[in-house]
Symmetry: C2
Subunit: 404 residues, 2 copies
């Protein structure tokens, strides 16, 4: 068993040094923003800062040790996090806990206003009337955007997992099968390789089930989510991904698959076909890959997020496909890449007017996709790590059309 | 192909008469509560009131026709909903749209404050400063709690789907396989039968992946979610459901599986074993089933939600297992049933101090579970429809231990 296979099949807890370093980084940001304490409640943020998702609130003061107010399961939390656990039952205990940490009643405190429900915010606002509340969303995203070597290793393992899933795809794809039956085989393989199934997205109403296994003309349809593909799905309450369409020979079969190891995600898309692809679609794949090549060359610390987007858009224009890039005409999405980590919509976003700079340790998916309305999608997606001098591809499948 | 098999493998849109009747019911509630208009944004509420989940806001005035402000995909929305679609790009257009519908600037309006992010609420509050905002959460839950015959048929089909999944379970369960490998086989079967994969829960930080396929001593562990079982999961970022534990002979194998057809869910748990179960565990299953029997007899319109919970708790006390009912000692959850529909945590809740009454058309899962710390869980769960005179079971698997 390789080290990566071990990571895929082990229930491992986050090392204490990881947790301490994440909290230290976040405390620097809290101080910079003049926030005296952060109340962390969202499941994934809890996992990031503690190593466990057990129900409760992590109070991180700008200085000093955090406290995990834990409702359930206290036993599990104690096993999984190095943070101090204080069992609690009711939100009414929060003001007292803050006082114990030396936080004043008229402090500036942070809540994840981008993800906690409005009703929960109202409860805090009425319970702690003098507090000034700041949205932690962008700050949590900032600290989480730079991955540690430990995190990169998990994402790398997820890349190997997706590589193995694609080997299965090559074996099982046949003409005449339904999209959902093809998808079910890949999902099964991923689970056997330790995939947790549930993918987290931070955006309201955003969701994803493994990815988009979509074919033929259905693959050129958009959905409700912010993604450069949609597909139809098995019913209108899901409205994306694999559906009941029967896969024919010579059609684009787009396999956008999100791997997952130890909570960490990776995103890859490959184009498959049973038999031969139409020349125009072949060309579409080559165009997507050449746009990806152009952007890859420009990945390095200091490059702004939007500069990579602008580069992709210019490349698409040069290739004569500006109106079919990242969506069918009139329905194009305005990004060409997104950070991946514990969630699939992390910083950085390769999108217009974002002048933040890439930093070493950032990890993002780069997914140029060309649309052929009525025929399908031809795209490619890989996940890259920003290194000191450029980038490293973390996805492992050959960047070619897979023909079966 | 039976009618149910057709429903399972068809992308069908909700009939217009369904949508009209749901909106009419909801408008009665809006009037009763003195709310002049509702802004519906959560994905599943959008689906319920329109038949589509395309991105946007449905404005439902207390009187008159609703309008669907749709951002994407407008094309899909037009195909899937009978409501009037108005394409829109920005939240800034909302005040104008409200004015067009004759809603005054100082109205009482509703938002789903239980599920929309705090930051989104703040945006509405600053944009429409004079409006009084009311939480629509409990009102949406109220209207959705009584299912139409159309909805019941979808839930019934989901019951048949889970029945077929359990037939597969009987075929594939063997000693020595890992929980996650067993789970992956059931998940694959469900997908082939049209399962959408993603299960929706309304509660903040609540999530579920198909259910809990958990075994041996791991099945007696609780997790972060509000459920009477947890399991370990494949990593601490997921913390529930199937993990890497190897299934042994003579151990409880608890298969809690949520079926899904056309967006509608159903919940069922069966206990399996390879070989023979320990006498104490056999007894635990009989106790759970006898508690379920006692509650089933009491299901009828007019019974209060809490009366059924109280009945289950008394039955557990009479059987001598009050401290191991619905959780291990010290970690028990305080409910014995929950509504199912488009979400798995719907009204009614069979929980303490809820004096609301059951109504014909309500659908809920009833899941008495007995814990044997260090050994496992023995429980049973079925989903019931409240009829005019009593109840009807919608899950179809025999209420027995499944021995392989």
């Amino acid at each position: 068993m390789s080290d990566y296979e071990k990571i895929m099949s082990t229930y491992e807890t986050t090392p204490e040094s990881e947790i301490q370093s994440r909290i230290k980084q976040f405390q620097k940001i809290l101080k910079r923003e003049g926030i005296e304490g952060a109340l962390i409640q969202q499941l994934i943020d809890r996992f990031y800062f503690s190593g466990t998702i057990q129900d409760g609130i992590i109070i991180i003061p700008a200085e000093g040790a955090p406290v995990y107010l834990c409702r359930r399961s206290v036993v599990r939390a104690q096993q999984e996090t190095p943070l101090e656990i204080v069992p609690f039952r009711s939100f009414k205990e929060v003001p007292g806990a803050l006082e114990d940490l030396g936080v004043r009643a008229d402090s500036t405190l942070g809540l994840e206003l981008d993800v906690i429900p409005a009703a929960l915010y109202q409860r805090f606002a009425s319970m702690l009337g003098e507090v000034k509340w700041v949205d932690l969303g962008p700050l949590v995203r900032e600290v989480r955007s730079v991955k540690s070597p430990y995190e990169v290793e998990r994402i790398r393992a997820a890349g190997i997992q997706v590589g193995k899933v694609m080997e299965t795809a090559e074996k099982i794809l046949t003409e005449g099968m339904r999209e959902v039956d093809f998808a079910s085989g890949l999902e099964k393989r991923a689970r056997e390789l330790g995939h947790q199934g549930i993918l987290r997205m931070r955006g309201f109403n955003q969701e994803l089930f493994y990815g988009h296994i979509i074919t033929g003309e259905h693959s050129a349809l958009m959905s409700h989510i912010d993604a450069p593909s949609g597909g139809v799905g098995v019913n209108p309450s899901i409205g994306q991904g694999a559906g009941f369409r029967i896969i024919g020979a010579g059609e684009p079969v787009s396999v956008d698959f999100v791997g997952n190891v130890g909570g960490y995600l990776i995103d890859q898309t490959r184009l498959m076909v049973v038999g031969d692809l139409d020349g125009k679609l072949e060309e579409g794949f080559d165009q997507a890959r050449s746009i990806q090549d152009r952007v890859i060359e420009a990945i390095k610390p200091g490059a702004t997020w939007s500069s990579l987007y602008d580069l992709a858009v210019s490349a698409a224009a040069e290739l004569g496909v500006p109106d079919r890039f990242m969506g069918p005409p009139g329905e194009q999405v305005r990004f060409v890449g997104h950070g991946v980590g514990l969630e699939v919509d992390e910083f950085p976003f390769l999108a217009p007017r974002l002048d933040m700079e890439l930093l070493p340790g950032m990890v993002f998916a780069l997914e140029p996709k060309i649309f052929h309305p009525g025929k399908g999608i031809t795209g490619i997606e890989d996940t890259f790590l920003v290194t000191e001098s450029g980038s490293e591809r973390l996805t492992v499948t050959d960047r070619e059309i897979i023909r079966v």
